[in-house]
Chain length 457, copies 2
């Protein structure tokens, strides 16, 4: 079922433009530029992504600055920097002036340091100062994510004045979702959603319809926390305050949607035991990908050589009881799997705020309990398998006890590590499944051989 409006149709229509666009670019670049007029910025960005980089460089020379800005706001900043490589600094500055300050600052931060200073020097004062202000805040903070394009009224103003301010914002193409109420020192006093402004009688003073003490964040707050607050309170705009509760910017929901997707990707990649990629999959170079994976793989490999040491130390019992070697992968992988489950569960629950560090004991009881229950069940399966293989009762007993112990321990390690990492200020997502599996392998083999010795000797 398709409609004329759906994304696939839009994408297909956009791509049909490609041959015309290429032909026009050869003969008459102005008419090539005109082909973009009717396209949504996001569709135009799609189209650029399908072109050769040299073609994009040529288009960037011919786009009017506002048109280039409109499209580049939908392009990943590292890609946008590549698009602008051949564009003279002065023109790049013109384009950045037309972009939202947060998008402009994001793009500038992806330039080489030398270029940053050069481009900023060529921007108009107001836009330059806005960008510099944002760049002063750390990456991934609310202060970097915010924009300064918002409007304010005073406590004594009326709903009509607030609506007039919303009109001013609309003509500047700023966010009009809310008008903020501040005192003479720019200290935030309240928030007016456009809904409350429109619903109120024009003469109503804003203090009667505003929300007092609306949810807000400090400039230094992590962007992930800003996103979680906007999600909790269902906000379209979130005010950002300095140390004195003065309004210095707003975070808009479209940025938060991007943050959620980006942070989700980072978490998932860390859970897969690799350094997060900075760019989309196909835009990451082969060697960068290999390096980001190789680092963790090598660490895990070196840790795993410990399993060899332990087994080497027990060569004799292994050679005498070959059944022990046969059941080894089964038992340690069960511990790794249950540990992976716990680690994933707790890491995600921490990320979305369902679990906090203070819940340490509750998590401990719950996970050890679950691990024990799972261990009893899998141990039962293990003893059945061993008896069917006629390993003898001693080996069957070892398999059952070891499975129970290793699964319980895996759950314990997997659930506690994210909490411990968070507590000491590391990202809980370091507790990847392979990381947990390796730890459980090492301790699991030890437990397994201890149990075997106890039963057999």
């Amino acid at each position: 079922v398709v409609t004329r409006f759906d994304e696939e149709t839009r994408t297909a229509i956009t791509h049909l433009l490609l041959p015309d666009l290429r032909a026009a670019l050869e003969t008459n670049p102005e008419s090539a530029v005109a082909l973009f007029d009717e396209l949504h910025g996001a569709d135009a960005a799609d189209l650029l992504a399908r072109m050769e980089i040299e073609e994009v460089h040529r288009l960037m020379m011919h786009f009017p600055a506002p048109e280039a800005a409109r499209i580049l706001e939908f392009v990943d900043p590292s890609t946008a920097v590549r698009y602008l490589e051949e564009t003279p600094g002065e023109r790049t500055a013109d384009i950045l002036e037309e972009m939202d300050p947060d998008e402009a600052a994001d793009l500038i931060s992806h330039l080489e340091e030398k270029e940053q200073a050069e481009i900023l020097g060529q921007m108009e004062r107001e836009e330059r100062e806005d960008a510099e202000e944002l760049l002063r805040h750390g990456e991934d903070t609310a202060g970097r994510l915010m924009t300064q394009q918002y409007v304010t009224v005073r406590l004594d103003d009326t709903a009509a004045a607030a609506l007039e301010q919303a009109r001013v914002a609309a003509r500047e193409e700023w966010s009009v979702g809310a008008v903020f109420v501040v005192d003479e020192d720019e200290v935030l006093k309240g928030k007016l959603t456009l809904r409350s402004i429109l619903a109120a009688h024009p003469d109503t003073p804003v203090r009667e319809v505003m929300e007092d003490l609306p949810p807000a964040v400090h400039v230094d707050v992590d962007q992930e926390q800003a996103a979680s607050i906007m999600s909790k309170y269902d906000l379209i705009t979130l005010p950002v305050l300095d140390d004195h509760d003065r309004l210095v910017g707003i975070v808009t929901v479209d940025d938060v949607v991007d943050v959620l997707i980006e942070e989700g990707t980072e978490d998932v990649q860390m859970l897969g035991a690799m350094e997060p990629l900075e760019h989309p999959y196909f835009e990451t170079s082969f060697w960068s990908l290999t390096r980001k994976r190789g680092l963790w793989l090598s660490l895990l490999f070196l840790a795993q050589t410990l399993t060899g040491n332990i087994l080497h130390h027990n060569s004799k019992i292994l050679a005498d009881w070959i059944w022990l070697a046969i059941f080894l992968p089964l038992i340690i992988s069960s511990g790794g799997n249950s540990g992976s489950q716990s680690a994933t569960l707790i890491t995600r629950a921490l990320a979305v705020g369902e679990v906090h560090i203070r819940d340490f004991l509750r998590v401990l009881y719950r996970e050890v309990g679950t691990g024990f229950a799972l261990g009893v069940f899998l141990g039962g399966l293990g003893i059945i398998r061993a008896l069917l293989w006629k390993t003898g009762i001693d080996v069957a007993l070892i398999v059952m006890l070891a499975t129970l112990a290793v699964v319980t321990m895996g759950t314990l390690i997997g659930s506690m590590l994210p909490l411990i990492f968070k507590k000491i200020g590391l990202d809980p997502a370091i507790t990847s499944s392979p990381f947990v599996a390796s730890l459980v392998d090492i301790s699991g083999i030890t437990i397994y051989l201890l149990i075997a010795r106890a039963v057999l000797m």
Copy 2:
């Protein structure tokens, strides 16, 4: 650094109300209800979560219906159903009438089937029809996620008329982000953001300022796709159309933020090899948690018993060459780890649209290349470790070749499975790290022993 507005302060202040609230609830329930007047719905929901269920039941009896609705919109629907357990059907119907239709439908869908019919029967006709319409659409579709609370104008109307419609919506407390332009058959013709309405001269016909063919989705589209379109086009509202391109609802961005978080949690839990939980961690019962984890663990355990069969079949060579058993965990876990990385990478890239099924060959070349490079490196580490242990050159050679082969194969399996699962209509996130690790264990042991036999015999 805190401000008076930040979430922690708000939460702390809210919790200070708890003793007063409890005292009031004992003596004078009306005054307990009054304590909620000044609280944001999300904070009020937090407060309810800290109370005993019996206390919440009593509060629900005394809340005016609009107040109960305002708070319940911020409560997880399965929890909201528990809160309303003791509330008579007629009152529950009153509360649902005051909620946004999408939230009301969500709550109703969490009731027992018998109760659903009873409650719907007690609702006013208009609200009942809205809810029934939403419930007709499948779970996780745009048609279920949307709301019918939007306003429309015709092509010949002016910007002033559109603003008047926005006022109507505002007084009804509907979303005012956009006004939609439809023809006499309700077919979508265009979209007016509130920004474009405010920026336009009041007499301008809407057809001159509207966006033609705005991005939209069909009612049957998956909610995850609706979210990705809103993210791509930076939308606050997304129109939802029926088979004839008639506007039947809108999806608002706050729902999309919730969808992104919910789908992120599901994906992460599946990647951790468990069935996704339906409720937050601590609200999931011990046995439900154990069951959802036990299912996958048992399947993986049974699959892993195959490793025992393979090893059993090779008992003699293992007993003769105990070094082979000693290196076994190291080699197969390297394959599992590299496979986990690939699986996680490709699953996430598929989820966010960076990779599509048509990229099959590109992914194949890239991942096999990366796997080979990683395998050469880890194989190098392996041969060094073996030589340091003085295993003899034949075992060292086996370790190197087996590591190279198993890591390359792990990467191949890990990267191809998500694409294959997606192709046959399954969720690619089934390709969890433990799942990949188990598959690689089985095939890795086979490869390892084949290489060992080739070298030693």
